[in-house]
Symmetry: C2
Subunit: 275 residues, 2 copies
């Protein structure tokens, strides 16, 4: 199977429409239809149920969409990492914008002080995006937060664990309580984060994808959030925090793709575990 075929298949599988997929791919519809039929013939597998009115994935097609995306990511990663290996020897670290600020600063300082350390580019990305960056080679290493981010397929080292606090606009009735339980927050407008594929679950709270956005919504009284306690250092006095006793503990981990064990990466991980 060629990556071109995979890209075509994924495009069609994503919008379930040959015409639109073809436009996205910058080609005409007939050769795309043909390419997919050929792929099906070569695999000996039907990938789509087609009526002249609608297209849908078969069982096998669903498998190929999942596995094919992973494969394309791996190919892209190979390409990008090769390019980077030749031009600069630095590392790219991905982290959620607004989260892990303190630990990130300490890590960068500690690593920079090591003998033989290389330049570290920091990519601050939207929630949940780190995994994708790590998988397709745009990043070499990432800071993730359990239990929110998935570490599936990566090697990890735990860095720190902390409890969570609720964030209220100053003056909110609950903000004077010494502590809370999750059940106290059940009826409040908790924000909804996008899942790995960028889709939001249906629900009541506002949709957010980074911390700045969230803090602003809280200040405006449009949202309440539960965040790791370390976020306090970034808050002004227009937001009050209250410990939430039964919120899950948040673990910050450093994660990297399991095979890539360069000297520079090993040094960074070592520096991280020694924090």
């Amino acid at each position: 199977m060629e990556t071109r075929e995979l890209r075509y298949f994924v495009a069609v599988a994503e919008d379930l429409h040959f015409g639109r997929a073809a436009t996205r791919l910058g080609m005409a519809q007939p050769p795309l239809s043909r390419a997919i039929s050929q792929l099906e013939r070569r695999l000996g597998v039907e990938l789509f149920h087609r009526t002249s009115r609608a297209v849908s994935l078969t069982e096998a097609g669903t498998v190929l969409l999942r596995e094919g995306r992973a494969a394309l990511d791996a190919v892209e990663a190979a390409e990008r990492r090769t390019r980077r290996a030749s031009e600069n020897p630095g590392l790219v670290l991905a982290s959620k914008a607004g989260a892990a600020g303190e630990i990130l600063a300490k890590l960068l300082d500690a690593y920079a002080a090591e003998p033989g350390s290389v330049a570290v580019d920091v990519v601050l990305c939207r929630v949940g995006e780190q995994e994708k960056l790590l998988r397709d080679g745009r990043a070499d290493v990432a800071l993730l937060h359990l239990p929110f981010d998935s570490t599936a397929g990566f090697d990890v080292e735990e860095l720190s664990t902390e409890s969570q606090v609720a964030l209220f606009p100053a003056g909110h009735p609950l903000s004077t309580r010494p502590h809370l339980r999750m059940s106290d927050l059940a009826e409040l407008p908790l924000p909804r984060w996008p899942s790995a594929d960028g889709v939001y679950a249906p629900g009541a709270g506002p949709e957010v994808h980074d911390h700045t956005q969230l803090l602003q919504l809280i200040t405006l009284g449009r949202a309440i959030a539960v965040l790791p306690e370390s976020c306090r250092t970034q808050l002004g006095d227009d937001i009050a925090t209250v410990p939430v006793l039964d919120a899950p503990l948040v673990t910050t981990v450093i994660a990297w793709p399991p095979h890539s064990r360069s000297r520079a990466l090993a040094g960074l991980i070592l520096a991280a575990t020694r924090l």
Copy 2:
């Protein structure tokens, strides 16, 4: 980057010889040379140092060899799993031949008794081969043994932990001791297992790649081995066992590729954790 180009590159990188690589690929040498040059031009990266006498990998080439192999495995996995998804709904479980016999039997029985279970094909493979099978889609799930096998990149659940015993031919002087330490075995012909790439470390002991082979060598007095205690159930009375107090504990885990979460696989994993 197309998988064809990657396959060409990996072939050349593996034997560092354009002529031989071309033969292996079933093509002539000139088009292969050209394909590699094109790849280098498109990537903007030199992958090989060539003199007209010898070929060697550059830094970037080394990266592409590692990442490219992973990418090719992922593509192959996508293809194989898609094929299998369409023809039969069963699972393929990989396990070392000769190891984990008892736990494997119990697992298969327990899972088969579940409602809605599917057929499970068992692939008994050589030591260290399970990871490759899991990565390239020939298996859906595998039994691995820590700390020997690497679980890098897989999701795992621990199944059992056991201590190790030394195996001697009947009548060996050490076989009557109540217990031993690793240092007692330092001078003895411990066998050498192949690493993930099938290469044996240099050393004194005999090269082995499965348990039958090993047991025969022990019976013949040509080797001594340290194995998990559960192997006792498979031994005849021509082999004696002695506990080794400071040998590392062996953990049997069930491992699977992190994204593939089919209903059938989830059932098997559940059955395994309940053993």
